[in-house]
Every structure is written in C-alpha cells, then in structure tokens.
C-alpha cells in the first residue's frame, strides 16, 4: 500500500509521518509519534480513552484517519501540563482521588478541558452528560465529577 506523507502539529511542535490511508490517528500518535498517553480501549469510539483535540475540537482519535490531520493541530495529554505546573484539572484529579487504574484518565482530562473551554460554569448534570462518552470502570464517576466541578470553580477564579 502506498504511504502518504503528512505534516501536522502535535502539542505545538511540528511533526511529520508516513501513514497508510486506512491508518487511524490513534495508531500514528501511539506507534509513530510514540506518545502513548492516548489510550486504546475499544477502537470503535465507545470508550473515549483515545480522546484528543483536533484544531480545538474534541475527537476520538480511533475514529479519525491519520491522513485527515494534514496541516492541523493535534493536542494530546502529553501537552496538557504547562512546564512544571500541572493543569488545574490534572491537579484536581489528584487532590480528589479521581483516578484509580488511570487508563481512562487522559481521555477524561482532555474531554473535561474541552467542556470547561466551552462552558466554564457547568452544572453537575452538564458535566455528567459531557463526559458520558468516556468510560471509567473503577471510580463510579463520583470523584471525577467532583474534580471537574472543583476545577471549574477554581478556573473561574
């Protein structure tokens, strides 16, 4: 199969890669760009563990073809903290014990940040519905929802 050469930006840095036309963005991020913080839980867009931002839009990278990202900005969990400082959401997830096994955590953080950028003052119900595309089997969601609400409050100042 002919491979395509793609140029994009990942977490603000230029990157380029060769990919087959049926290869997913998730596969490229994990296997070629070697950023394994984005997780594969289902490869059918049901679990949200592979959530990334594509030009500011929340997507499942398992449902995005790698050839689609030509010239676009990809943001993954690896770009979430700001130098030495964790993002407020990352810090609140730690303080609230909002993670256990942690496999879903990168996806939740990416999705939660996208929510708070859109809606800085969400209700509990809005948080729950926004995050309904991310599966967590450990926490029962309680501490995740608490952490997101608390982060939103701190971010509003």
């Amino acid at each position: 199969m002919t491979r395509r050469h793609i140029e994009a930006k990942i977490n603000g840095d230029n990157c380029d890669f060769l990919c087959e036309s049926n290869e997913t963005l998730l596969s490229v991020i994990r296997n070629q760009l070697q950023l394994t913080g984005t997780k594969e839980g289902c490869s059918t867009g049901d679990c949200g563990a592979c959530s990334v931002m594509l030009d500011g839009r929340l997507v499942c990278s398992c449902l995005t073809l790698a050839v689609e990202v030509e010239g676009k900005n990809i943001d993954t969990i690896e770009g979430m903290s700001n130098g030495e400082d964790l993002h407020i959401l990352q810090r609140k997830f730690l303080e609230h014990a909002a993670l256990q096994c942690g496999i879903c955590t990168p996806g939740f953080l990416i999705a939660a940040r996208a929510l708070l950028e859109k809606n800085p003052n969400p209700t509990e119900t809005e948080v729950r519905y926004w995050l309904a595309g991310n599966l967590c089997r450990c926490t029962g969601y309680h501490k995740i929802v608490e952490a997101v609400l608390d982060a939103a409050e701190e971010m509003r100042g």
Partner: protein, 769 residues
Amino acid sequence: MSDTVAYEEKKLKIIGTRPIRPDGVDKVTGRARYGADINLPGQLFGSVYRSPYPHAIIKSIDVSAALAIPGVKAAITGDDFEDMPSQFIPVGEMVVNFRDMTRNVIAREKALYDGHPIVAIAAISESIAKEALKHIKVDFEILPHVIDVVEAMKPGATLLHEEQYTLIERKRLGSEPTTESPPKEPSNIAKRLTWEKGDIENGFSKAHIIIEKEFNTKPVHQGYIEPHATVATCTEDGQVEVYTCSQGHFVIRSQCAKLLGIEVSKIKVIPTELGGGFGGKNNVYLEPLAIMLSKIVHRPVKMVMSRNEVFRATGPSPAGHVKVKIGCDKNGNIVAADAQIDMQSGAFPGSPLPQATITCFTRYDIENVRVIGHDVTTNRPKVAAYRAPGAPIAAFGVESVMDELAEKLSIDPLDLRIMNAAKEGTQTYYGVTFPQIGFLETLKRAKAHKNYNIPLEKNQGRGVATGFWMNIGNDTTSSLNVNDDGTIALTIGTIDVAGGSRSSLAMMVAEEFGIDSDKVRVTTGDTSQLGFNFVTAGSRGTFAGGIVAILAARKAIEECKIRAAKTWNVPLDEVVWEDGYARPASSNVGGFDPLSLADIAKNATKTGGPIAGHSEKNVQGAGPGFGTQIVDVEVDKETGSVKILRHTVIQDAGKAIHPAYVEGQYQGGAVQGIGWALNEEYIYGDDGKLQNTGFLDYRVPVASDVPFIDTDIVEVPNPYHPYGVRGIGEVPIIPPTAAIANAVYKATGIRFNSLPLSPPKVLAAITKK
C-alpha cells in the same frame, strides 16, 4: 489465631489522612506505562485466529498460505503445546486444571466457544499479522451447542466434554466431607457441591412463613478499559522475559512455566501498570502464545487484544440460576434456609461455585441451612473471577427473598436483617466462627442514615440489601531498604490493582517509622526481585501487603535501634524507637541526643552496613467484610427505564488507611453493581455467537447514568491486622442487584427475578400488569 499479627490501638499520625497517590502524576500526564504501551526493539506483532463457531471439531488446520505471506514469521497451534494431565491446582481464587487451561489458551481437539483461539501468528507489522489471519484454513465439523445453564444440565444435553462425570461433594458442618462415586453417564455438570448445617426439614417445619423463589442472572464482563496486552521475548538459551498487565505476575509466571514446560527461574515477568482487572486478569491468555511464538523466532512478540476479543474470549462472570427458600417464625427469626445455585462455568469447569455457595446465607445466623451448587460447562468463554466472584449472583436471590419476607411480616427490611445478623461468635455453615465483625454496625448506621428517611414521590422506591465477602491473605512478600539519607525504598510483589495500595502501604510504613509518607517510595518488583506473591484477589492487596510491609519496617526499625545502641555503647533494651527517632529508654541511660532515621542511615556504613528489612509470609487473619446499601430509584413507566436517584454504601473497612481510596472502592463497586442490575448482559444469537462484542451494545454505566454515590465508612477493627485493616474491594458490588430490584418493586409493585432490569424487560412487565 496463631501466626497472625495483632491489632494494637494507638494514636495515628499518617493513617486516616489523604495524601496524593504516588502513581498519580504519571497517570494524569499520560506517562504511566500500561501493557500496550511497552514496545521493544525488533518486536513482532502477534495475532490470533479464533473460532467462529461455538462448538466444532477441528479436523485440520492449514497455515501454509498465511506463512507464505511476506513478513509472516511464525504460526502455532494447539499441537505446539504439550498436553497436560487433568489436575486441579488453586490459582487466584479459582481452581485451575492445566489440562483445561492449555486448551483455553489455544484449542486442541475442539473449539468450545465463539472466540476460542485456534492459531496464533507473528508478523513484522500489525497489519500483516491481521491480513495473515484471513489466509488460515481450518476444517471444522460443526457440532450442536449449548449456551443456557439450565439447558446444559438436562439429561441428553449436548456435551462439551464426553469424559466429564459429575463430582459429588458433600460438606456437613461437624462431619468429615464426603464424596460419592460419580454417576455413570457423562454430564455438563462438572461438580455438585452441598453445604449443610442443622436439620433443614425440621427447620422448615417450624416456620410461620416460607418464601421460595427462582432467579436468573446473565454473565457480565469485568469491563476493564485496558485490553489484555503482553510482550514476550524468548532468547536462544531459553531465557524468557514477559511484560504483561496482570493482577499477579508471579501467578502468570507459574502458569507459563507449567504450560510451556519451562523452569520457573528461566521466566521473568515484569508487571506493567494495570488498566483495570476486577478478577479478569488473574490468568494467562496471550502470554503463553507470545512466549511460544518468540521461542520460534527469538524476537520480542507483542500481542494486544481488541475489545471484540476481550468480550468473546476473556472473563466474564458466570450466568446463574438460583432457587432460594427461606422460612421465618412469626417474629421474623429465620428458622431455615435452602438454596440451589447453578452456575455456568463456560467452556471448562471452575466457576466461582465455592464462593457463591459460601457467601449465600452467611450474613445471617441461621440454625438450619442447606446450599447446593452446580458447576456447569456450556459453550461460552471460560468464566473468570469478577469482584466478589459468585457472591452477587447468590445475594440477588437471597436479598430479594429477605425483602419479600420483611414485607409479608410487616417488618422494616433493615430490622429483619438486624434481627438475624451474624455477629462475633456466629458459626457459619462452612465452619468458620466469626471474630469481631461490623455487620450489625452497618445495618444500624443504615437505619439511622438520612438517606433512609428521605420522603419518596410517585414511581419512586427504596430498596436495601447486604453483602459479605470472606477476604483472604495468602502468600505475600516485601523488601524494605533504608536509603543513605533516611528515606525508604519499599519493594512489593502484590500488584496495586488501582485501589491505591501503593499509597496505603507507604502510609503504614511511614506510620511505623514515624516519618512522612512521601519519604517512602513504593515500587512493584518483578518476579526476579522478590519471593512469590499471590494474585491481587480476595481484597488482599492492602491487608496482606500491609502486613508484610509493616513486618519489614519493624525489622528495619529493630536494626536501627541496634545501630543506635552501638553508637551510644548501651545495651539494646535501653533504646526505644519513637516518632522517627531512636531515643534513650529513660533518663538513666545517659544524656544522648535522639538519633533520627537520617542520622542512623548516614552512619550505617560505620555501624555495620546498609539497613534493611524484609518479610515473606502466607498472611492469615483476613477480616471478613460486610456492607449494607440503600438505593432509591425512579421508574419511567413509559419507557421502562430505571433511574438511580440516590445510592448509599455503608461498609465496614476495619480501618480506612486512606479514606478517599476506600470511598473510591465503595463507589466503583456500587456502580459496577448498578450496571449488573440494569443493563449489562451477554447476548447470544441462536447460532451461539456473542452478539454484543463492543461497548456500544454491551453497555456499562456512563457518568450520566448514575448519581453521586454516598459513602459511610464503618470502622470495626480486624483483630488480626496491626491497624485493623479489612479487605474492602469486593463487598460493594454484592448488594446493588437486589437493592435495586427491591427498590423497583416498591416503585412498581412488580418483583423482578431475572437480571438485568433493562428498559424493555421492565416496560414489558409494567404493560402486562
């Protein structure tokens, strides 16, 4: 109890606080490495050809066309593995027969379920490996199949194993266990197990009221978000290295050694971070295949399951068919209880039958009990442990009948349970006499809880149910080194299955030394670094791991005291250890300044060398765990949808080392129970194929399905742990199914005896009414 470590009441500084978990930053930054995140230079990619049929004779396999594809390096079938004798060995709360395990890893004469591995191949890329599967030719002779547990038990049912005869075991309290000679006809019933206490007939003859009901539950999957993944390397001189995500790398090593005929010392298993297990990652699936492939090519072989493969070929819990009969006198005292639990074990025997039968009535002090269990093979994947394996199936029946009894007797459902609750000194029908337990406390706290007294509206209902899990200790090791600056390196071998045991162990060690918990770094050692550890199962991680960490710390502290005595030139008994310092035992000893752990560590070379402690133990004295849950639901009568309004978990933790992680276990377990009650089920077509092999159709609860889960941590100390710890991970999943069914009854007037209470089923019942 001999060989246990006693509880000591003392003032605590670290235990009970909520420090941030040591694995936390790696998990919020994407840095944590799980099974599929491991990549080794030169690795190949393995893929598995799986049976498309639920039951078929494998007449021949032709891999030549697959091997001819450029980039395909190796192919293996069941013939590449030695056949194993039929022999039962306990592994991870389950009994393993390696004859069966080798056949589950890769089929030999027959495919026994849709998804059963037939061929494994290794290729230079994932896409070539997947392409190669299409060129594998298997000649199947399709056989009739049996999926349902009740059908499988009937005489004349399609047999999975023609050589399987029912093993009959009877255990009567106060008598030696007996086994009968097996029946002459082969059967899908691998085992019939009976527990008896007292006189069941006589007991029922004294009953004022008897309720007898039948219940059905469906298999549910553990649903961990991380699919199974492994990378194995076998060198030319037969040294094996395996990276894998499991609940017990030592058990993975034992199983691989046995299945591949390799000495244990030649296999090193390195645990990765675990992306959820809940009992489903206690046993090998991919590891022996990856090792066998690597044995041929001597390159690392990486294998990762798809979600479809996870659903079709790993886990799930059994399906259960349960009959429960309970009789009470007119005051509500239970006089007799009888149950039959038929559990589907999947393609091979070994459902969690002992656990289901043992936990069935054990929450109550009953004079006359009988529990009969059947372990039944069917054409489904071999079941695996799932959080309190077997217990939710039995409890669904028993706690539903308890609710009905309370209603008929006009007694509050919590009062009926309080009246009959097991307590310290109660002898169970399986022989154990309970030490100090906290069941009554959970019931009384439930009764007084504000959530038990909130008024309900139309179409709403409130249900309660209880749960019990015996908990275990088992083989556990740790090694502790005092670093030269007085910080601590603790190496453990019992996997932190995500509950936060690394944090809890650091806190217990810090408490022993009298230092801050962030001075203790906890690392999970690989199999070459420590003695054997059992899988993290039976809620043993923080309990058993804690005991060996504490004992290792105590040895190191003793050594610190020896070094202080040497430094001061005083007898050892004139040195005490307090709050992180060696101090003179009294002012008579002399005016020595206390020596901190850092002071002692700094001078360790001069006083005898590095300071360390270690502990290896078959840990005893796990404290039984009990809990009570209260659930409020609202039923939408137009759609049949059940909404959880409030859910309250009240459970005895013995002592919560890190309360946030205890709450996390209560909340996570309760929501898994909600999924089991309302949505989750394995759905098979008439063709015997699993139809819902993805998270879209196998619907686990999402954030918008559940409310905040209220928790109340009861602390009745376990007498056999220095800080009173009991295992807590499993109990929370037990009560929800019955508590929700009982609440739905209150909301609708309809008793549901089969799970899940999915909208179509609830709507059909409402419409029929």
